[in-house]
Amino acid sequence: MEWGAEKVVDPRRLKLAVLGLGVLLAFPSEAGAAQDDLTALPFEELLLRDFVSASRLARQVSDSPAAVAIVTADDIRAYGYRTLADVINGMRGLYTTDERTYHYMGGRSFGDVEDYAGRVMLLIDGYAVQDNLFDQAYIDESGLIDLELVDRVEYVPGTGSVTYGNNALLGILNVVTRRGRDFDGARVSAEISSRGASRQRAAWGKRLESGAEVLLSASTLDVDGRNLYFPAYDTPATNFGVAEGLDGERNQRVFGKLSWSGWTVQAAWVEREKSVPTNPSAYTAFNTPFPTRDESAFLGVRHETDLGLQLYSSSSLMLGRYAYWNQREYALDEDGEYDDGEKYGVRDYHGAWWRFDQKFVGRWFVDHTLVFGAELRDDHRQSFHRRFLSPAGEVTDRDDGELSRRTFSLYVADDYRLNQQWTLNLGVRHDDADDLDGNLSPRAALIWQQDPATTWKASYSEAFKMPNANDRWTSDDTAVPEYVAATELVLQRQLAPHTRFTGSLYRYRRSDLPIENADGDEVPEGSSRARGVETEIEHVWERGARARASVAWQRSRDVYGRDAVNSPDLLGKLAFTFLLPGEALRAGLETQYLGPRLTRERRMLGGVTLSNLTLSTERDWHGLSASLSVRNLFDRDYETVSGFDWRPGDVAQDGLRMDGRSVWLQVGYAL
């Protein structure tokens, strides 16, 4: 492999990895006998053979050209996950950064807070739900989906532009919602926490006699503001570094889904208000109210049908909107006055779009599955309004921008089964936005089913990210797309009937990134590299006891060849859940190691191991269920990397202290 030749992996580690793979392969696989043509066996004989039950999810994992990771509703419950960020933190090779306003996702070459938006795609039942101003995927309480509605979350590492076009640069997070029948009635629940949070939810779902399926849900969250201490502001003039009661958060969510006879209509809405306790710029005043509001909504209509036996059609229309509002207070200047008499800054941004996608799956040719289609997306509203207000609240200045973009895309992919063992997956997508040159995103993947228990996957793909509306507006439309080329080798091996190993080696090269040239100007000519190894073992015991352990090692360099910011070399995860004696209660224990990582001031934050423990009722008792979680069980004191590389005084604010131990209690009742 070319990996060794380019010394992209430390030779010592490579040897270890090769040794590890060798050991793995030395073990006989689960279904040792080669998978011959079973139709050649007499039926009498087949009837005497034992079967190994296989889950649909396992099949999906082994058929996908990538090393897919899946977290199910059972996991969400067992480990007490409350947000997508919690789910992501439990996944191999991924981590999140809480910047006290939003949570950002990191992994595989991206980690810097500013590096996040638009690089990971978030889908809800196949609908891309990032906003169309920042292209950000919301994974915290500002996100559209309450986790109670989630059947599973799939993370597909690697580029996804071949399927999804823009924004699927580094990975795809697909949230699949539950069906009405999974609720089969009404369910209410309430949650409180030592953190001062309270949440109420109500959901109703059913599969009706007619075959129609309905799911409706609403929830609210209210989190008290707390006093948070920021050492960089520890001066008498700035309240000795304490931001008082500014960390509060509230949200409301509504979700509905109706499916009948090939049609599915779904809608989701969320409004989240959060007060920002940090001080985002040198011009704003610390410890002053900084409310911010995010509102997202979408309506999706999909029709799936078969046009004859060999052609499947899926048509979907999505209407999306997003609104962002915040108000900040500026600091007094050296003369004790407000610059230009402006005391407040208000941002009021709105985005709206629609998207139509027509996809076909053709199975006309033996051994070929052909996927092809077209997508039209119209980001008809991308409006930016900034207003600057006097102390009396009068508008003193304003700055407005109105943008739009229309994108037409065509895609085709073929899954070609060469024989029982080899599958070739080739795909290409062309995206043509009216403000940019057309772009082609190719992917080639070769899958080798060495034996029934062992699958190898090698892939090469290219993806891109268009400059988002905010980039275009703030750069006067000089922002350019950025690109990534990714190479990955994956091994999935069933070591035993209930033990699965997943390993991957990857290399990403990102290009056309901003870099400072010799004249000190920022130009889009930089490129960064990342490479890494990820391994994971999953094992399932009887009665739903299961464990998952993963280790990910990565080396990520920025455009200057330095270690990348907020990109830990090492990540470790261990999750274990089992029924306690008596079988009424389930315990779920997670331990996650986040390795040392650099701040934007290039200070190294120490590695930290965090543990969470959840106890939950295994079955409803007269309709009642409960779950108790302790987050940060051992009350570890740690920092995350902040987005700040400037200092208000002598003390840096490149890290943010995170919460200690917190306790969460949820009680549910099925009506």
Binding site: L38, L41, L46, F51, Q310, L495, A496, T499, I537, S550
Partner: protein
């Protein structure tokens, strides 16, 4: 315990060869469907292909794709994974996954007496011709002869001999 120890512990705990004879569930079910087709007689057909359809079980559909290119009753096998019920009368054999069991009465109504051999692995009594049922670590099957007969299908004596019991038709 480090991940490494965990891995070696698990790997060593694996008893070797115990399941050497066991087959993946999806492959086994797909092959059962193939045998049902081979061991059943259809009324004379005009279609050139013999169509296996799967609704509501992607795992079985994927496994069934391996039947493509074979021949059943002198017709070459085509396999279709259905996303809807619009084309089910074009199927010769229709496999309905457990997930779509609630649709079975609707499917039975749509098919009427059309010569389509319906197969499912759903657990509750269902209006289908053949049900695959787990029996310990093996898979057995049951045949509803009356339903097959109404559809103009004739299970061979060999098939009936292998069936666990011949189910009484549902009222």
């Amino acid at each position: 315990m480090s991940a490494r120890n965990l891995f070696f512990g698990l790997a060593l705990a694996t008893s070797q060869g115990v399941l050497a004879q066991a087959l993946p569930e999806f492959d086994l079910k797909a092959t059962y469907a193939y045998n049902f087709a081979v061991l059943t007689q259809w009324p004379p057909a005009t279609r050139a292909s013999f169509n296996f359809c799967v609704y509501g079980d992607d795992g079985v559909a994927e496994a069934m794709r391996r039947l493509q290119g074979k021949s059943v009753h002198g017709r070459s096998v085509a396999v279709a994974r259905l996303g809807a019920l619009t084309a089910i009368r074009d199927c010769d054999l229709l496999y309905v996954g457990r997930d779509e069991a609630p649709s079975l009465p609707h499917i039975a109504a749509l098919l009427g007496d059309a010569p389509v051999l319906t197969v499912t692995d759903a657990t509750q009594p269902q209006p289908v011709a053949v049900v695959i049922v787990p029996e310990g670590r093996r898979l057995a099957f049951e045949i509803d002869v009356e339903r097959s007969r109404r559809a103009g299908l004739k299970p061979s004596a060999a098939l009936l001999g292998l069936a666990r019991n011949l189910r009484q038709p549902l009222n």
